[in-house]
Structure formats: C-alpha cells, structure tokens
Amino acid sequence: MTGTGSYRAALVGCALLCLGGLIATTSETNARMAAMAAVWGLMAAGWNIVSGYAGPLSLGQAAFFGLTWFLSTLLFIEYDLTPYLGIAIGVVASLLLAVVIGLATLRLSGLYFALATLTIPLIMGTLTRYFDWFELTRPYVGESARHFQFNSSLPYYVTAAVLLAAALFFTAYLQRTRMGRYFVAIRENERAAEASGIPTLRYKLYAFLIAAVMASLAGGIYGQIAFVFTPEDAYSPVTSIQALLIVLIGGAGTVLGPVIGAALVIPAGQLTAEHFSHLPGLDHLAYAVVLLIVAFFSREGLYPLLARGTERLGQLLGRRRPRAPAAVVRKEGP
C-alpha cells in the first residue's frame, strides 16, 4: 500500500465529511442525522482498526461505547462535571478495561475472543442495572458550550466529524508505519506473522486499545446527543454489530470503509424507518441481508462488489478494453 494512496483516501473522506456538513445545515433533522452518521463512523473507524486491519473479530465495542456514555452522564448529574472532562475520564477507564480484557482474551483463538468480547458488555449491562442505574437523564442547561450542549445538532456534527477525520488520517498514517504493516500481517496469518518476528499478542493489544479509544469517544459524543442513558441501549449487542456492519459495507481494512459505510447505513436506516414506520424492523432486516451478501463475497465490503459489477456490465456492453477477470475468491488462512 503506497503511502500517497492512503492519504489520498483520507482526503476523499474529508471531502465526504464536508459534504455531510453542507447537508447538516439544511434542517435540524438532517443535522441530527449527520451527527449520528459521524458518531457511528467514528465508532466504526475503531472497529476497523482492530478487526478490519489487525484481524481478531471484536464483538464487544459496546463495552467502551457504553462505559464512556455512562461515566460522562453520571459525572455530569452527580458532580456537574463538564462532559469534556467526563468523556476524557471515560476514555481512560475504557483504556484500562481494554488492557484487562485484551491481555485476558487476545491469547485465545478467534472464536473464543469474539465470544469473550460479546459477553463483556452483557455483564456490564446487568451490573449497571443491579446497582439501580436504569435511566440517567442528561441534565438540561440550554445552550452552553462549556457543558457541550447546543440547541442545534450542528456543533455535535462538527465535533464528531473532526474526530472522524482525525481517525481517518491516523488510519492512513498507520498504513505507512511498522504497526500498520504488522496489523495486516497478523490479519493475514497470525502464526506466520509470529514466525516472521512479529510480537502478535502485543500488536493485537495495541489495535484493541486504539479501537477502545475511538469507541469511547463515539460513546461520549453520542451521550450528549442522546437524552437518556439506558444500559439496554448502551451495552446492547446491536451497538457492537452496527459498528461491524458499517465497516463491512464500507470496506474492512480500508481507510474509507468507516466513512462510506456510515454515509450509506445511517441515512438509509433512518429513511427506511421513517417511510416504513408501520413496518418495524424493516431497516435492520435490510442491513442484515446486505451483511450476509458482503460476508460471503469479499472482505473489502460492498464497494469492490459494485466496482466488479460495473466492470462486468461494461464488458457485457462490449466495451473495447476487456479487463482482467476479477480476483478469485481467496481461501481464508487457517
């Protein structure tokens, strides 16, 4: 992966975010949708690092998303602590949690790691309810930048978009460093990577920590947009799966994956929910069908599928330069 290619992709990502910004200015409903898309894009960018680049399939990003949302809201209610600090504390707590989970579970094989990460948010949800934190309402202080609260959703979009852009450039930068090369080698074949001098457990942990930071930042901002914290929303398996869905549709292991995925999935979801409100569950059903298709064909997500589709279409219509046949579906490593 040449260096320039990845930075160019990050720039395209920023162009998309600016486009999103334009759309966000048209109405409050659009601003809120754009903010949601940017937040989920940030969450997806985290998942993309650990499971898109480095390989171990993490199904527990909700643990960090939920923990930061919870801490920033609780500290705001109990000690009137500004959410900026609350989110920072949430990020630190998530990092500690990620180190503990990582060291304990990254040694296990793919299936067991996925299972362990799936179980942890469920435990956190039950414990939160056990200590009687069922619903935490975010205090209302009107328009106050100090408390990260605004009448319009636009400022939330700007914050989330800036963080997402930073995540994109960081992903692009990663591709040009040793860590990025190691991530990809581990994803391709962990045992061969270990035999080639790569400390696989340590680098899987680094990927997991980076993902935890991004997931907790996303959870922190989401907490300001959402009005009420409930353990069901914060720690539900669907939260982790949404991150996976976005990256797989946008393209796992690519810089642009999270942005494209979020730009497609979130607006499409809200539109189907809006126009088919009498058919509850239709939007998630559509996601699942797309995810099923993507899981079969390629790890790079929907995008290459479309590219191949247009290619074959071009050939069928008798374009002069027939392309080389598409790459054969690769056999996964053991």
């Binding site: 040793r178 391709e188 045992r191 061969a192 270990e194 690769r330």
Partner: protein
Amino acid sequence: MTTAEATTATATVLELRGLGKRFGGLRAVRDVDVTLGQGERVGLLGPNGAGKTTLVNCVCGDLKPSDGDVLLGGETVTGLPPHRLFGRGLARTYQVVNPFPALTALESTSLGALAHTRSVREAEEAGDEALRELGLRDKRDVPMRQLNIVEMKEVELARIFAGRPSVVFLDELLAGLRPSEMSALLDVISDVAGRQGWTVVMIEHLIGAVMHFCGRLVVMNEGQVIADGPAEQVARDDAVIDAYLGPKWRQHA
C-alpha cells in the same frame, strides 16, 4: 560439497540438550541432543509422525518444551516466543506456501526486516535487496497471489534473508515442487546460504533431495534421534532403513 566441510564445526551456533515434549501421556519427543556448527547444512528426516515438526516447534518457540534446553549462540533461549527468536537470528519458513496473499512481494519480504528497524522505508530497502538476492527484483510490486509456487517459496526465503538470521529452519520448503524446480530452488538456497553463512536445517521427507544439499543427516523415529552423522554413512545405517522401509528391506540395501 565435501563431507569435510560439514564436520569442521567451528563455533557452536545451536545446541539442543535433552529436549523433550509430552502431550498428556504421549511423549512426542524424547531427550534429543544435537549440536549445530556455524554454516552446517543438516537434513532432519524421519517418517510421518516421527516428531520432526514437534521438535522444530519446540526449538522455534511455537511450543514450550516439557524438558531439556535450547541454546542459541550459547545463550539459553528455551521457551522464548518465535518473534523473540527471530530477532536473535533463529528463523523458519512457514509451511503455508502463501501466508500473506493480500501483500505484494516487497511488502511480504520487508516484514522480515521490520524486526530490526522501525522505519518502513529502511525495511523496504532491505526487502528490495533481499528480492534482488533471490532474483525476484522484477516481481517487487506483484501481489503474492499472482506469483507461481516457486516464486512464493523464494519470497519466503527473501523474508528470512531480510531478517538477517544465523540459523534457518526450512520446513518442507520443497513440498509440491517438480524435480526440476526442486533442484533449481536448492541451488538458490545453497548459493544464498553459502554467501550469508547461514546454518541450515532442512526438514523434508525426500531423502534424495536432502542428500544432494546436506552434508549431515539427523534421522528421528518415534520421537527419538536414531541417527546423526555424515549423509552417506547415515543413509546406509540399519536403524534408519528399518525406520523408513521396514526390516524386510534390509537384505537388498
């Protein structure tokens, strides 16, 4: 390659002292004592299930030995993980012929160099040099999945070359090759190993190919070393023939 060259063990590079591995009750490998000198070329042979791969896995850190020690350059390295051993110069090729399909030849090769430098640029320069050493310079930006089987094996060697090893374990590298490709690859290996002063251990089933390359043979059967010495002598050793071809063959040998 005269036998003399094989036996003048100057400096001891790798020493296995009473190495053993148990899986529950099963003793897969039992008290293996072998010493490798600088530049030696050893063939590790034995029928399927003789414990060859388990022994190599214990030496290269994939498995923690149950008893005994591994000394690399005089230092005890028993139980160190594979990536630490690679950093200290003990490398192995990987049975899966194309472990990193999504990478280009250069990217795959430069992984080896990354063990010694943080900078990707330096690693790619080392990778470039390694590819030139293996005659694959023109395949630099070709994705691995578009190389043929010989080229893939050469990239494996290039990756090890870029890691600047002292001891190299070639784990069934010749598997799946036609005889002509095999001898071509063996020439490349002996050429590179000679220039770099590698100590090479070749793990194979095919005695013929190994005889051509290795001065010394170590033969295992049922977890134990049953013969260790110059190639011609070991090839005629009764115990080896029994292990490989079964007792009734002895009278024809």
